[in-house]
């Protein structure tokens, strides 16, 4: 279990420029055995958060707990040094020591770590870790000539060999080529899950976060703006930033004119350039307030005829462009004066200039606060 509470970190300004607030009151909680992804654009503070958890960076304030033991407490000035936190970490550069063999790299935490492993157990544990990453044949190799993928797996073996309380991964896949990355996504998750190690995974790639994590936290300039299971973050973004960072979306400005409750259904009426949009999703935006309506390109469809009778929203639009992307077609429509994107199947035959009705179910329209 890992708990981070109200973590703060400000970097001093180099040479008279502005100071950088890398972490602003960050809190999160990761349950034992979970695979937790920190997702955000580069420079948002992911590495700083990970290094604070590791003990390589000392935050200015806040609390970090691992398995209920405090490893950092800003108020009481408790800082457990990094080498006593019993963690495993894969660095972005892999940090494989070039003067040692693969075996020596992996054996390091067992031989030089705080809890010394009996000499007789080192070799079996190293070989087991190497087998898990399918590198047992490479034990005696020197590291500089390994490929990127092999180095990454050595780094992984070194990080898990001493059964750490927590595994930290800093963009471990970003140095690999696309095909290898796809394969490693699956393999990495399976490996970590089979070991049952609690894992924090940093990435700027939403596909990685979505496909690998049990829980995702989206970061933006030093704060976690939303966290939850991947599906929740995807289907119920709480801000336009999250909606656009995790997948694509049409972001339509407007105002909530009324909130109506019928039975256990709450409907918001949203006045927008597209016309009135009805949304049945929970929202923080009340009646009379300005907001943004988020509609995913995959949420809408082209109505075959006049049959939007189930209360779905329906807009009359004209197709202005279609971009063939292989597996999907990116259709661009004009509804009134507003551009609207729709993801179509590759076999769709709607032609440019065609007038169509676009249908969006009410539970696929999400209203988030304006300016988010």
């Amino acid at each position: 279990m890992l708990a981070v509470e109200h973590l703060q970190k400000t970097f001093p300004a180099p040479g008279g420029t502005q100071t950088v607030q890398a972490l602003k009151d960050v809190s999160c909680r990761i349950e034992k055995g979970d695979f937790f992804a920190l997702l955000g654009p580069s420079g948002c503070g992911k590495t700083t958060l990970l290094q604070s958890i590791a003990g390589l960076e000392t935050p200015d304030g806040g609390v970090i707990r691992i398995d209920d033991a405090i490893v950092f407490d800003g108020d009481r000035r408790v800082v457990v040094p990094a080498n006593r936190r019993r963690l495993g970490m894969v660095f972005q550069s892999y940090a494989i020591w070039p003067h040692m063999t693969v075996y020596d790299n992996v054996a390091f935490p067992l031989v030089y770590g705080r809890t010394k492993t009996p000499a007789g157990q080192v070799s079996p544990m190293v070989m087991q870790a190497l087998e898990r990453v399918r590198l047992a044949d490479y034990a005696d190799r020197l590291t500089p000539h390994l490929s990127g993928g092999q180095q990454q797996r050595v780094a992984l073996a070194r990080a898990i060999v001493h059964e750490p309380r927590l595994l930290l991964l800093d963009e471990p896949l970003s140095n690999l080529d696309a095909r290898l990355r796809d394969a490693m996504r699956v393999e990495l998750r399976q490996l970590v899950k089979s070991l049952g190690i609690t894992t924090v995974f940093v990435t700027h790639d939403q596909v990685e976060a979505m496909s690998m994590a049990d829980k995702v936290a989206v970061m933006r300039s030093g704060s976690i703006v939303q966290q939850g299971p991947p599906t929740e973050v995807y289907f119920r973004p709480e801000s336009a930033f999250v909606a656009n960072f995790v997948g694509h979306s049409n972001t339509i400005p407007g105002r909530v004119t009324a909130v109506e409750t019928a039975g256990d259904l709450t409907i918001r009426r949203f006045e927008s350039p597209l016309g009135e949009i009805l949304s049945s999703m929970p929202s923080a935006v009340g009646a009379g307030e300005a907001g943004l309506c988020i509609i995913r390109p995959q949420a809408a469809s082209i109505a075959p005829g006049d049959q939007a009778a189930d209360g779905s929203n329906s807009f009359a639009g004209i197709m202005t462009a279609r971009h063939f992307l292989g597996d999907t077609v990116d259709g661009v429509f004009r509804i009134g004066d507003t551009e609207f994107r729709l993801s179509l199947g590759p076999f769709d035959t709607t032609a440019e200039g065609a007038a169509v009705d676009l249908v969006v179910p009410r539970d696929r329209c999400i209203i988030v606060p304006a300016g988010s």
Partner: protein, 573 residues
């Protein structure tokens, strides 16, 4: 709950580390600031008094310096000498570096080898050799000229031009190494895109390569300029006879006059004057290169820049660069010749018959020389080892330490770069004159540690900076303590650079005449001072034999060590 679970340790190791940090600060401050305080005190003494004798303060010495009618001459000489040497030296070095790094000229390796092993050649020896070559009466080149043309030989060693010429040859290797690094570290794609977009070779050189190199060349130029302004040994050997005083020799003459009593006060005031000048230029240097570049040191990694095919220019290029290399080696060849004679004479067939090892036997038989050799070994090993240990700690704490202590260590360890060796030697003399240390080899070691700590710290710091921080972090995360990280990760990865720094200090400590000469007594003579004394007698073959021995023994250490380093770092890349 959480609070009762295994007691969270306080940041362990911090306590010890800050003690180490303060200790290093204290040592560096003592060796750098101590002599400087003494220098300032001495410069403020009333005439005829000694430091610590009186608390009186007088600005008489500074008044004397500033109203000295010779001052404009001194400044003009120093400036002309330095500018001339830098201009000639960097132009030749740039041409040679370009040929060696960026063309397909055969013999490139030879040039590089010569430049990298040149640190085995003391500037004093260059002075000896050139005096034998071009003194107006019996200089070998002048005699040859007379034999060929019948007219008087055109060369004279006793002019500022000769001083500039010799000094520019002594700075070429340093400039070559730095400029070669610039050429090597330039991204070839910048030039390639010039060619792809239609630029001719000339256009690319003028519009792309040269502008890209300009800031680097400028910083090399200023760096070499500072070195020449501070230079003492060549102006001593060539300039004193020629009556071309510069600031550094004036300081020496005031503190060790041939006749009369030393005027330490005035000498110290001149020393401070030179120190201020050098500091101003150092400030300019850092402005030009940018503070972050202070640590930047030549590294030959990464891409291979494109090579220019010389084609029909191959032969002329080889001829000209061969001539330059020959000119560099000429003084050494002359000394080699001289060392095989009993009494100096010009090279001739008749003289060839008298060639023998007699001088070597005679010189090595003297107990003073044997003592000097022992002292030299002690000095160079002591100075290089202590400097590297101190520099490693200094670099570590100034990079990984925190707060004002780290910054103070950083500044203090860099400041000797701006302190001319002659001034530092003077200051050390004043500080230790009446202590038991005076006259020992230890005081020479202290002097060399002080003047070489800046370069050594720079070397280690740049190695540490290039060492990806994540490599050490990965070991820490694995549970390794501070000491394990140091011995298992950091040292195994940076030892080639550390060994290189050690070699550099060793060679320079063996070459240096400044510190040993000012602090010389009968008890702590070393090779360089004995050479100088023999030359002064004059016993030219004796001085030549010692020069040859010194260069040879340095080569025997430097060449194998550099090959070893090159092999080892090639393997782990």
């Amino acid at each position: 709950m959480a609070l009762d679970s295994p007691a969270p340790a306080r940041r362990q190791g911090d306590g010890q580390r800050s003690i180490g940090q303060y200790l290093v600060l204290a040592i560096v401050a003592a060796i750098v600031i101590g002599p400087l305080l003494m220098l300032v005190r001495t410069s403020l003494l009333p005439e005829g008094r000694l430091p610590l004798e009186t608390l009186e303060i007088s600005f008489e010495n500074f008044r004397a310096v500033l109203t000295d009618p010779d001052l404009p001459v001194l400044l003009a000489n120093t400036a002309f000498y330095a500018l001339g040497s830098v201009a000639i030296g960097t132009v030749i070095a740039t041409a040679l570096a370009w040929l060696a790094e960026r063309t397909d000229m055969p013999g490139r390796f030879g040039i590089r080898l010569l430049m990298f092993t040149w640190m085995a050649v003391p500037p004093v020896i260059l002075g000896f050799g050139w005096i034998l070559l071009i003194n107006p009466g019996s200089g070998i080149l002048n005699v040859f000229w007379r034999a060929l043309t019948g007219g008087d030989g055109p060369f004279t060693i006793y002019s500022i031009w000769a001083m500039i010429f010799i000094t520019s040859f002594s700075v070429i290797p340093t400039a070559f190494v730095m400029i070669g690094g610039l050429f090597r570290n330039m991204d070839p794609q910048l030039e390639n895109s010039g060619y792809v977009h239609g630029g001719s070779a000339g256009v690319v050189a003028r519009r792309i390569t040269l502008p890209l190199l300009t800031p680097g060349l400028l910083s090399v130029g200023i760096y070499v300029f500072i070195a020449v302004v501070q230079a003492f040994e060549l102006p001593l050997i060539v300039g004193l006879t020629a009556r071309i005083p510069v600031l550094s020799t004036r300081i020496y003459l005031l503190s060790s006059p041939d006749v009369g009593v030393p005027n330490y006060g005035l000498s110290a005031a001149f020393g401070i004057f030179l120190l201020v000048l050098a500091t101003l230029f150092m400030g300019l240097y850092f402005r030009v290169v940018g503070a972050g570049e202070r640590y930047r040191i030549v590294s030959g990694k990464g891409f291979r820049p494109r090579q220019t095919k010389l084609k029909r220019w191959t032969f002329p290029a080889m001829l000209v660069s061969g001539l330059f290399c020959l000119l560099m080696l000429l003084p050494i060849i002359v000394l080699l010749w001289t060392s095989f004679l009993r009494f100096y004479e010009l090279p001739s067939l008749a003289a060839l018959e008298r060639v023998s090892f007699a001088t070597y036997r005679e010189v090595l038989g003297r107990s003073a020389v044997q003592g000097a050799i022992g002292n030299t070994v002690l000095l160079v090993l002591g100075a290089s080892t202590i400097t590297m240990v101190l520099a490693s700690l200094t670099a570590w704490y100034s990079l990984r330490g925190s707060g004002w202590v780290a910054r103070a260590i950083d500044v203090l360890s860099f400041s000797p770069l701006a302190i001319p060796p002659i001034v530092m030697a003077m200051a050390i003399l004043l500080l230790y004159l009446r202590t038991p240390l005076y006259g020992s080899v230890l005081i020479l070691i202290i002097g060399h540690v002080t003047i070489y700590i800046a370069f050594a710290t720079r070397t280690i710091a740049s190695a540490l900076i290039q060492l990806n921080k994540e490599l050490a972090d990965a070991a820490t995360i694995s549970g390794a303590g501070f000491f394990t990280v140091l011995t298992r990760i950091v040292i195994p990865l940076i030892w080639p650079q550390a060994l290189n720094g050690w070699l550099w200090v060793l060679a320079h400590s063996a070459r240096d005449l400044t510190i040993p000469l000012l602090l010389m007594t009968n008890a702590n003579a070393v090779m360089s001072t004995v050479m100088w004394t023999l030359w002064d007698v004059p016993n030219l073959p004796g001085a030549a034999a010692l020069s040859v021995l010194l260069v040879l023994s340095l080569l025997l250490v430097i060449v194998p060590a550099q090959i070893f380093i090159a092999r080892a770092s090639a393997k782990s890349q």
